[in-house]
């Protein structure tokens, strides 16, 4: 390297590398998190110019207060049945996550990812969207499927890559897909689904349809170019799309500062693209519902996309392959100041006089039973088999769906594989 001329009068540059507020061994510190009181943020008209939302991109839309009351202009005023249904869905997601996590630990599958603490982000959004709106999720929105009554057994069969897995064991566990439930195929490649959602929304507009698209992306993944392509296309074509940034503040071991979260909010990205932006307490099911409904109404009225930052916390590890105690304090999840979405909605129902301990316990027992029964049923169709001879699927299906039709070279390879397996069995 050539030596630079010395310039003694200039300050020496240094590289800034963001660091989270606490590492293992440190006291958990959430003092940097500004939390405005519930109900304090105004609600613009869904038909208002995007710029009117921009002050909302740096605050936090909250509905539920500490006493469990719904307050302020964003209160979606849901009936008790809907609230109970959302509570049930979130509780079910949590139990389902626990069972599948344990199944992985028992060697019944290769991998699992929980959404603990983030259940409201998917469940409440699913209830706020229309049933035929199209969802482009990440691997942490299993709540969409639960809220849309996708059968648990089907979900589990995907986790087990077993005989009944409709994806034929091809995808990593949690990478569901179900067209009939408006749930687009999950990709392992981060951020890819967001511009695709925008394209789907553009198609809906091209065809004069009334359906909209909703996408989810993690805080970390907003660094990908695809996210920026999505915002650009969505803005330019005023695509009827809701783009949710699920800011759970971690991307594996990297805190949100590595994605630019130290500089501004993720919702504030909307300002630069000139699209509507909201920042929402993602652990408040009512706020998630209200913001999603606001954005959906806006999109349906041809006013274009909304970027919503769902501010939440990844309470557990990234996946079964991760041990978060290596890079953040163990108690971080439990100390998240915006609490637990399930507990907060439960408290709200109790405060309304629509819920009590006995009913809660009964519901918990019903859910445990439902999940257990589904698991028993799913396991009848097998679990991931780690064998070189016995496979859950008919091995010949490996070559299906690469193309609509099987070309000669795949046909040959298929025959080769069948011969190999016969040789192995000998």
């Amino acid at each position: 390297m050539t030596k630079q001329p010395e310039r003694p009068n200039r300050p020496v540059l240094s590289l800034h590398v963001p660091e989270p507020s606490a590492r293992p061994g440190d006291e958990v510190d959430f003092s940097h998190v500004a939390i405005p009181p519930a109900g304090s943020v105004p609600r613009p008209d869904p038909h208002a110019p995007a710029a009117e939302t921009h002050p909302l991109a740096t605050t936090l839309v909250r509905v539920l207060d500490d006493a469990g009351r719904a307050v302020g202009p964003w209160d979606p005023k849901l009936d008790a049945d809907t609230l109970r249904r959302m509570l049930r869905d979130m509780m079910l997601v949590r139990v389902y996550d626990d069972r599948m996590y344990r199944a992985q630990r028992q060697g019944k599958t290769s991998f699992y990812m929980k959404s603990t603490g983030e259940e409201a982000v998917a469940v409440a959004a699913a209830h706020a969207l229309d049933r035929d709106d199209m969802c482009f999720p990440t691997y942490r929105q299993q709540g969409l499927l639960v809220a849309r009554d996708y059968p648990l057994v089907e979900m589990m069969c995907q986790i087990y890559s077993n005989r009944r897995d409709k994806l034929k064991g091809r995808q990593l566990p949690v990478m569901y897909s179900d067209r009939a439930h408006g749930f687009f195929s999950i990709s392992g490649n981060l951020a890819t689904q967001v511009p695709q959602a925008v394209g789907w929304a553009m198609a809906s507009a091209i065809k004069g349809d009334s359906r909209i698209a909703a996408a989810w992306i993690g805080d970390g993944s907003t660094a990908e170019g695809d996210f920026h392509a999505a915002c650009t296309f969505a803005g330019v074509y005023r695509a009827p799309a809701v783009i949710n940034v699920v800011n759970n503040q971690w991307a594996i071991s990297s805190f949100s500062g590595i994605a630019g979260g130290e500089l501004t909010t993720f919702a504030a990205r909307a300002v630069g693209y000139g699209i509507a932006g909201l920042r929402v307490d993602g652990n408040d099911a009512l706020a998630v519902y209200a913001a999603t409904r606001w954005a959906a109404d806006r999109a349906r009225a041809n006013h274009g996309p909304t970027l919503i930052e769902m501010f939440t916390y990844r309470v557990e590890g990234h996946s079964t392959s991760d041990d978060p105690s290596v890079y953040r304090p163990k108690e971080a999840g439990a100390k998240w100041p915006l609490g637990d979405p399930v507990e907060r909605l439960r408290l709200h129902l109790v405060a309304l006089g629509e819920w009590d301990e006995a009913r809660h316990e009964q519901l918990a027992a019903e859910i445990a039973d439902e999940v257990r029964t589904a698991q028993r049923e799913a396991e009848k169709h097998g679990t991931l088999v780690s064998s070189t001879i016995d496979f859950p699927q008919d091995v010949r299906t490996m070559f299906d769906d690469v193309y609509a039709e099987l070309p000669w070279h795949l046909r040959e390879q298929q025959a080769q594989m069948v011969a190999e397996l016969e040789a192995k069995r000998k």
Binding site: S161, G169, P173, A191, E224, S386, S387, T388, M398, E420
Partner: protein, 337 residues
């Protein structure tokens, strides 16, 4: 000397080079405090500071581009792409920029940078944690592509790659990070500790780029392999009692043509093996080279044993993987005629 697995050897290569040359910096997703999801960069941030080992935003295009900028400045960046399956957002920067910078500026700018990335299957990673995209990069002018198969080579090759003045793609076979893998999935895994190539010098040394290693001498047939498949090839030769000469290419571009020619001229038969999909794979290039240069020494057509031309399937992984049966069949075929 220490006994190291591949992860430790790669970590040691970083350590040695960061100590020797303060232009060496490390960036990538989760490589900083955490030390990478496979822990290859563990301890480097603590030892060399945050300005020399740091987490990158999840933007492979950004990571590669930033590395290009750093290399243009005069640093020697080592960028980690968390899985080879996630390298594609950086593809334009690698192909159109890194690969051509020296050429398009007639040498005015050059890019001493390394892009490391774990590749390959065998860990039930499904289609986005299992790919072997080396041929995509081998196809691009201006890039070197290196693939080690054991701890000793991994360290020596990585040091050589960091010292190289051209961009190097460094593919790490993740299936053998912790121990060599013979392709017999049902057998217990042996750790590297039992393997002679796990004896790794603690200090600086290099294994030159562009030089293959004959890892098993034999008279009947030549097997050209790299990465995980080197071990599968050795085990397959053993299991079938075939007197195969197994060549670990180590660098696929520029490939060590002399070693290949010498061996094929001797054996007259050749099998090429890789885990990547077959069509347009690097095996096709190797087969073409062998027939162009050794045609009159060949006793039989060059055979390929490869992954199938499908995405890597999760549950059918062990039907997909080009294991001892597929390779054994290819070897038998090459021995016929």
């Amino acid at each position: 000397m220490s006994v190291m697995n591949m992860i430790q050897a790669l970590n040691s290569a970083h350590d040695v080079m960061m100590a020797r040359d303060d232009n060496v910096v490390v960036l990538g997703e989760d490589v900083g405090y955490f030390g990478g999801v496979f822990r290859v960069t563990e301890g480097l941030q603590k030892k060399y500071g945050r300005a020399r080992t740091f987490d990158a935003p999840i933007s492979e295009g950004g990571i590669v581009a930033a590395a290009i900028g750093m290399a243009a400045y005069g640093l020697r960046p080592v960028a980690e792409i968390q899985f080879a399956d996630y390298i594609y957002p950086g593809f334009d920067q690698i192909v159109s920029e890194a690969g051509r910078m020296r050429y398009r500026t007639a040498g005015e700018w050059y890019l001493p940078m390394v892009i490391r990335t774990p590749y390959g299957g065998g860990i039930f990673g499904g289609q986005t944690h299992s790919q072997s995209p080396e041929a995509l990069f081998a196809h691009v002018a201006g890039l070197k592509t290196v693939i080690p198969s054991n701890p000793y080579d991994a360290k020596g090759l990585l040091i050589a790659a960091i010292e190289d003045d051209d961009p190097v793609l460094f593919f790490e076979p993740k299936r053998i990070y912790n121990g060599p893998f013979d392709g017999f999935f049902d057998r217990p895994v042996t750790p590297w500790a039992k393997h002679p190539k796990a004896e790794v010098p603690d200090d600086y040394y290099t294994v030159p780029l562009g030089k293959a290693a004959v890892v098993r001498e034999g008279a009947d047939l030549t097997v050209l392999a790299y990465g995980t498949m080197v071990h599968v090839a050795l085990a397959t030769a053993e299991a079938n009692g075939i007197d195969a000469e197994v060549i670990d290419l180590r660098t696929i571009v520029p490939v060590d043509i002399e070693t290949i020619e010498q061996s094929v001229r001797k054996t007259g038969r050749c099998v090429v093996v890789h885990e990547a999909t077959r069509t347009g794979g690097f095996g096709a290039e190797l087969a073409a080279l062998v027939q162009e240069r050794c045609f009159y020494h060949l006793e039989a057509p060059v055979q390929r044993a490869t992954g199938f031309d499908t995405p890597y399937p999760h549950s059918l992984e062990w039907a997909y993987f080009p294991g001892p049966i597929r390779l054994g069949t290819a070897m038998q075929k090459a021995l016929e005629d």
